[in-house]
Symmetry: C2
Amino acid sequence: MEHDLPEPPWRTPRKQPARRSLSREAIVEAAMGVLRKEGIDGVSMRRVATELSTGAASLYAHVANKDELVELLFDEVVAEIPLPEPDPARWREQLTQLWVDSRAALMRYRDIARAALGSVPLGPNALRVTETTMQLLRLGGVPDQAIAWATDVVGLYVSASAVEGAMRAQREEGRLDARGRYIQGEDQARQLQEYFAALPADRFPTFVALLPHLTTGTDDERFRFGLDLLVGGLTGLATGPRAAGP
Amino acid sequence: MEHDLPEPPWRTPRKQPARRSLSREAIVEAAMGVLRKEGIDGVSMRRVATELSTGAASLYAHVANKDELVELLFDEVVAEIPLPEPDPARWREQLTQLWVDSRAALMRYRDIARAALGSVPLGPNALRVTETTMQLLRLGGVPDQAIAWATDVVGLYVSASAVEGAMRAQREEGRLDARGRYIQGEDQARQLQEYFAALPADRFPTFVALLPHLTTGTDDERFRFGLDLLVGGLTGLATGPRAAGP
DNA sequence: CCCTCCTGACGAACACTGTTCGAAGCGAAC
DNA sequence: GTTCGCTTCGAACAGTGTTCGTCAGGAGGG
């Protein structure tokens, strides 16, 4: 970084100048860059290794698995979720905000949320988010068993929504095919419109009747809709706000 | 099947006796078998082709893509969801039952639900399920915009829950590693217990306090918990049951 | 009856993937 | 000074989805 002049050729080359730099942190950092740019499918062992100008096999000294690497990535993403200072008077808003922020952080890294589905996240940062979530639910007076299940359920919903949002974003981005043909999201949207217009109204009367509403609203609004349903239900379970206690 | 004696060598071999049998239906059927036994990752073009005793390239005459094949599979699975005859007096129970049945049908085919996340299912059978869902919500007097969003939201939740359930089932199944070592689900559960027991109670007080509740309940109960939250919220949006009408 | 034409079948190949093996190289410890 | 152990990393293995070019068989026309 400081000076990238070519090494004088008469000097002995010193193959690894001090570049024992390969470490778990460096690998995760490089992988995060790939993840952000190309999504989880872009994160291959070879791709990450190339980013560090080495071979794929070298990564296995610091990371057991690709699965383990993805877990590390996920927890790194979760670290970006801002945590509130729990306030008993505003536990509902804080909960909603926390979950909205969670989804936003996940979507910032494309389809990383796919890693959360099917494997309960238990990294250090994920634990901190879970702890805060549970604290807020407790402040609201939600029963303990409901708290445990609710964190699970909402986590599932947030992740699923993030995955769906990432897919939609990728589709609208207009990705180019292997051939180089541009598949504009616009084209697909038009095809969908045609498909909908051709649906037999006698067999799908309600669906057809609701067509205008189906494409209404942004992803965030739809997410908020479901989230409000869940939070509303949790409020119903609450015995009213109570002070934090042991 | 009837006789698999070797063909007498002096007979002309007749390479394709009448085996123009390869068709889209046959491919989907074969793939369904693989899916049920080994999950979505087991469904590879070569694997399905082998099941039909042919090569992978042959499938591409009937199916554009692997993605298309998976879409076909998904819709075939959705076909197994039993649809109720909508009854205005019981719209809530019917809705809940429909969603429980949907999750059950998905889980019957391992992790096929992964295909639903990130691509709104629009096959003929999926449309029938969606139509019924919307009819039931209408019977309950849920506003149109809420109906559109609710089908989306709950579909997401059902799929996500099915994925999680499939993963857990696979884990508990005790799969053998590449080495042949048995990784019993029991072992992993014990490791998890140890990890939880070692958590610092001062940094994660609420989490640690709720530990007994975290492992309580079956997957179905947890799913029902979230589903009841959602249905409860939808009931709150309803203007009361009304007769079906245009 | 024969000769096209065309579509489905399919072996081979391409560019990938995750992971393992074995041979090096290096630093530290004895 | 030598040995031990940890990194590094090229090569290879067994997979993956997909495409290409060839080939055979049936349909249709003359």
